[in-house]
Each structure stands twice: as C-alpha cells, then as structure tokens.
C-alpha cells in the first residue's frame, strides 16, 4: 500500500508553524518514512501531484490570489487542517481589519495601488470547510504529531478543550492575577502552550485563542480593575487572536462601554 500523502501550504503568515514541523527534530525522519511529504515548498523542491490525503494550511487569507488558491487547496485535500492562529482566526495581521478602509486608501504608503489585498485578513474556515483546527502562535508541535497520527490510525485526535488556567495549576505555577495583580487571559484562553506566560511571571496574551465556553464577562470584571495602562485588557484581546469571535466581540463591548463612561 502506498503511503498517505501530506501537503503543507503557506498563506499570510510568519512561517513559524511550518517551522514547528521542521523543528520535529526527533520525529521528522520517522514522519517522512510513514507519510509521503508530497508538497512542502519551505522544505523541499520536489512536488508530487495531488490529490493529497492531508493538507496542513498555515496562514490567513488576505489577498484575492489567496482567496482563489485556498479553493484549489481544498479541492486537492481529503482532510484539511488549519495550522495555527493565523489559519484558525486570521492571526496578528487581522488587526488591520480594524483599520478604516477609506484611511487605508489614503495611507501614507507611497504607492498603495501596487498592492493587492483584501479588506480583511480572515481564517481559512471563512472560505472553505476545515476538518481540524490547531490553534497556537505557533502551534504546539506535539499537537501536529497527534493530529497526523490520529488520522493515520483513523481515530479522533485528543486535543485540550479546557483553559490555560488548568495547565497553569498543573505545573504548579503561581497565579499572576491573584499574587501580583497582573491581567492574564489564562482563564479564557484555550490550553496548549503549557501555560508559558504565567510560568514566566507574566500574563497570558491569548495565542491559542478563546477556550470553548470562555466566560468573557467574568474575565472582564476581574481583569479591568487591574489595568496598568488605559486599555490594557482590550489590547490583550486585540493581540494574536484578535479576530477570534469571542475575543473580538468582548473587546468591542469593552470599548463601547468605556466610551459611555
């Protein structure tokens, strides 16, 4: 039987999630022995023709060309995995969605007419059906292995559905909100990083996106009084995962309420 084929694609992104695959130093050669890495421009020049069994898609959709290309990628892929927060929510570059489009045209950029960009940077799922989403900026490479392995074994992948707080407690880190009064998105952010920021004595800035069923209202009530500069909590939400609906809507609500008082 021939090996299942894997294709890795890049859209608007920093390459960090693809690099997480190349950073599988202990597993890379073994991975390449159980699957056929058929398309992975950052790693190899050889391209095998599709269709592919697994497509790993890094990046958000931000240009007309990408809008067309993602349709092609979907057609070629049996299973499509959105790889990282750019692909699952739009990523950091979705911050430009907050920029007024008229001002975009009047920008001080010397020749904006040379650029071809869509008005918004959007997640892959806004354009095509996505089978699995791996959050993170960057993704946790162990989760990449888990999803690929699960697909090969025809089982459901095991991915955390709880918040960073649980990971933080598990590793025995001191809560930065309680002990130091530092605003931290841990309670509303999806686990997966291992509670890196609180363990380093700082607040979480939400790389892994909103946790399922995150209570944004409770988080706002707890965190807003702790702000060290005006707008800190809105800035935390409008960070890596700014365009994830739960964070986007909570930030908009907070801004509106601040405008009212």
């Amino acid at each position: 039987m021939s090996k299942p084929t894997v294709a890795v694609y890049k859209f608007s992104s920093c390459d960090g999630c693809q690099l997480s695959i190349l950073n599988l130093e202990d597993e890379l050669l073994e991975l390449a022995s159980v699957v056929e890495i058929a398309y992975f421009l950052e790693a190899r020049s050889r391209v095998l023709p599709g269709p592919y069994d697994i497509a790993l898609v890094e990046g958000s959709i931000s240009t007309p060309h990408e809008q067309e290309r993602i349709q092609e990628v979907r057609k070629e892929a049996k299973t499509l995995i959105a790889l990282g927060t750019c692909a699952t929510a739009g990523g950091i570059q979705a911050l430009r969605n907050l920029i007024d489009s008229k001002r975009l045209a009047e920008s001080v950029y010397p020749h904006p007419e040379y650029l071809q960009v869509l008005r918004e940077a959007t997640p892959v799922s806004q354009h095509v059906k996505v089978d699995y989403e791996l959050w993170g900026c960057p993704v946790n490479k162990a989760q990449v292995v888990e999803v690929v392995q699960a697909l090969l074994q025809q089982r459901r992948p095991t991915l955390p559905g709880y918040s960073v707080c649980l990971e933080c407690k598990r590793r025995g880190a001191v809560c930065v909100v309680v002990a130091e009064g530092v605003p931290c998105l841990g309670p509303v952010t999806r686990a997966g990083c291992g509670a890196l920021c609180p363990a380093n004595g700082r607040g979480c800035y939400g790389c892994f996106g909103p946790a399922p069923h995150a209570d944004m209202e409770a988080a706002a009530q707890t965190l807003l009084p702790l702000e060290r500069y005006p707008g800190e909590v809105v800035h935390l939400l409008r960070h890596i995962s700014n365009n994830a609906p739960a964070f986007r809507e909570a930030a908009a609500r907070m801004e509106m309420e601040r405008g009212r008082t």
């Binding site: 130093e25 960009v117 500069y229 800035h235």
Partner: protein
C-alpha cells in the same frame, strides 16, 4: 540557447517569492525578483500599542528569527525610554541570540541551501544517502531550539523577553544541564565547517558594499555600530542617514539602497568580511584549518560564513552558559516618558533596524522596521543581472537551478520583507 527563466514559486526559502529572467536576441532584457508574499502591515498596527507589547508583536514578523525582531525592538524602546539594562541582562540576550543563530544557521546550511550543493532536492532526500549529515543537522538545530526554550519558554516566538530585560531569570540548573549538548554542538559546528569547505560552489564573484554591525570587543551580533566596507561608520541612531528605502512595483517589500544610491549587502558574508579579526580563537582556528582567504565575494559561499558563525555562536554560548549566574532584578524599572529610539542587531540573515516614537504615556506613535532581506533585495537583483548572461548557453534546467540557488544562498526571509507599509490606524 536557454529560454526565459521563470520560477513561479521559489522553494526552500522562508516566505513566497518568484523569479523571472527574460532574454532577447542573446541578451538579458528583464530581471525580476517578485515578492508576492501578502503585506501584513506591521508598522501600521504597531501604532497605538503600549511599548511593552511591541516585542511580542514584532516577533510575529518572522517565525525563523523572532529573537532578532525582539532584540532590535527592545533596544530601540530602551533608548526611547532612557532605560539602561544590566550586564547580566545583556549577557543573557547574547545567549538567546546565539541560540537563534544555531537553529537558523543549521536550518539554512543543511536544509535550505545545502541540498543545492549536494545535488538533492531536500534534506529529506539527502538523508537517504547521507543520514549522518542530516542527523547532525537535526541534532544541532535541536540544541539551538532547546536553548531558546530554556531561556524564552518556547523556540518559536519566545515569551520571556521584555523592554528592560527578561520577565524572569531562566533556571540555572536547566541551562547548566545543556552544557554537554553545547559541547557536542561546538564539535558538530567544526564538522560543519569542514563539510562546507568540500562543497562545489559555483564560480561567481561581485564587488559588494558590505554593511554589518561592528564592535571592538566581540563579533557583533546583539549590538554595535553600523560599519560599511566603504569605511562609513554610523551609530544605530544615525542609520537612516546612510541607508534609505524605496518602493518598487513588482514587490510588496520596500527595497533599500545607500544614500549614494548603491545596493549593498548585509548578512553573514558582510559580518565575516568586516569583522573577521573579532572572531573568537576557536573560529579563527577553523578558518585557518580550511585555508579561508578574505574577502569572500562569492554569494554562494555565504554557507561557509554561516558554518564559521556556527562555531562562533556555539563557543560563545558555552562561555555564557558556564558563566550564567542570575543576580538582581531580571528587568530594569521603567519611568514611562515620551521619546524616540533606534535599535539595530544582526539577525542571522543580516542587519535589522527598528525605530519607534513613543508618546508620554508610552504608546507607539510611529514605527519603522528595516529587515535584512529588504536591504539585500537590490543586491540580489543586481547579482541576477550579472549572472544571467553567463547562463545563456547552459541547459535550461541548469540555468534555472543556478538562479534559484543564488536567491536561496541569501537565505531570504521573504515573510519579513513585507511590512513596512505605512498605514494610519483609526479605531472604528
């Protein structure tokens, strides 16, 4: 006679680019390195952010060299805020930078450019015939990533760097435990140099203006003055007096040139040629062993410079790890004030310059980022113009490969070339 060379999607580079060379009646009529990587407008959305958020945002410009973006931005912001960092913080930042060099150079030497010189399409196919070479590459890369993880929390987009220092001191025992692997890495770096010296580099030399940071007391990576092979020497805050950016139609990256309107070269060749005398004895000994003569003017031989730098950073990392003794506060106290600051450091692929203006509450009013690949753009195109006529009578596949290899030899980080598009941010 060869046909037009058209590579619609360059492989083994970071980011997305294409390459076009057109010939007519035996001469070169058109050379274009086309960046179709989407613009991500970083300088636009940095506006209005609080200064302490900046290193977390700029890291996202490049997943291969996030530390470089953090280091140039914290230095610029510390200048704007009048913050002095401790000697311990500077030492730890140098160590973090060494870790990124190990990871990035091992990737480029063995997995991005290396296959071109060994006749392979990837390190994966190289592994089939020379598994020991690829295993060495992966283990070396892993040492860099482990070091990044101990200091920064994770290897891609580390979380521990802040304006003023680090959020907290990394665990000394965990760092010390890495010493045996770093000793192995130093030896592996020496083997990398020996291996690099045996590879068949294409013959091609150009007269470059080299530009790199320099210091009297060490091989400059974390900080230094901006030195050019023309003798021009500027402090980082004077950078824009010597080097300018302009926009071209076919690329989303701005291109750079000197004030004399000349293209210039940044990166490992520039560093090695300008600062050879500052290399550590361990690195100089390796240069001598392979009979290296300077200056290197062949861009393909940048791989040898990277290999020598691997020795330099492994040796430096060992010294800094052995000497690591966290003392005092891991970050300086900051009195927020209005100000302007500039910072420059040597990303693995070349000089990276940042400038910020802060208002009195510490919010960014203006940001400028000049990445290494944008500075090398004009030089890459000039090289392609120079090499194209020599390809006229070569088989088309070979001619195409020579051009692709040339671009890859620069280690272009195309994803970092796309964000100095200036925009006004208006809250909706």
């Amino acid at each position: 006679m060869t046909k037009n060379i058209e590579v619609a999607a360059l492989s083994r580079v970071e980011g997305e680019g294409a390459l076009y060379i057109h010939f007519k009646d035996g001469s070169v009529t058109h050379v274009e390195l086309n960046i179709y990587e989407p613009p991500r407008f970083f300088e636009g959305f940095l506006k209005g952010r609080y200064f302490q958020e900046v290193p977390d945002i700029t890291a996202r410009i490049c997943g291969i060299c996030p530390v470089a973006y953090q280091m140039s931005s914290v230095q610029a912001l510390e200048m704007a805020l009048g913050v002095d960092i401790s000697a311990e913080v500077r030492a730890l930042r140098r160590l973090l930078y060494c870790a990124e060099y190990i990871e990035s150079h091992a990737l480029h030497v063995y997995m991005l450019q290396g296959p071109d010189l060994t006749g392979h399409e990837s390190a994966l196919s190289l592994a089939a015939v020379a598994p020991e070479v690829v295993k060495r590459a992966l283990r070396l890369k892993k040492v860099g990533n482990e070091l990044l993880k101990i200091i920064g929390g994770r290897s891609v987009h580390p979380v521990n760097v802040c304006v003023g220092g680090f959020y907290r001191w990394p665990d000394a025992a965990a760092l010390r435990a890495l010493i045996p692997e770093l000793e192995w890495a130093l030896e592996a770096a020496r083997q990398t140099v020996r291996w690099a010296a045996t590879l068949p580099y294409p013959e091609f030399e150009q007269d470059y203006e080299f530009v790199a940071l320099t210091r009297a007391d060490e091989y400059a990576i974390y900080d230094g003055e901006v030195l050019s092979s023309t003798g021009r020497r500027l402090r980082p805050k004077e950078f824009e007096k010597g080097y300018l950016e302009y926009q071209v139609r076919h690329s989303t990256a701005l291109h750079s040139q000197t004030v004399e309107k000349q293209p210039y070269l940044v990166g490992p060749l520039a560093r090695l040629n300008l600062n050879f005398a500052r290399l550590r004895p361990a690195t100089q000994a390796m240069a001598q062993e392979i009979g290296l003569t300077l200056p290197i003017k062949n861009p393909y031989r940048g791989l040898i410079a990277r290999a020598l730098e691997l020795v330099e950073v492994c040796d430096t990392a060992l010294e800094l790890t052995r000497a690591y003794q966290p003392r005092g506060a891991s970050r300086a106290a900051i009195n927020v004030r209005a100000g302007e600051g500039m910072g420059a450091s040597e990303a693995p692929r070349g000089l990276l310059y940042h400038r910020y203006i802060l208002d009195k509450r510490g919010f960014v009013q203006f940001a400028r980022i000049t990445p290494p690949t944008a500075q090398n753009y004009a030089r890459m195109e000039a090289d392609l113009w120079a090499i194209a006529p020599t390809l006229l009578h070569k088989p088309h596949a070979e001619a195409t490969q020579t051009c692709e290899h040339l671009v890859r030899a620069y280690d272009p980080c195309i994803s970092c070339s796309t964000h100095f598009l200036k925009l006004e941010i208006v809250q909706r």
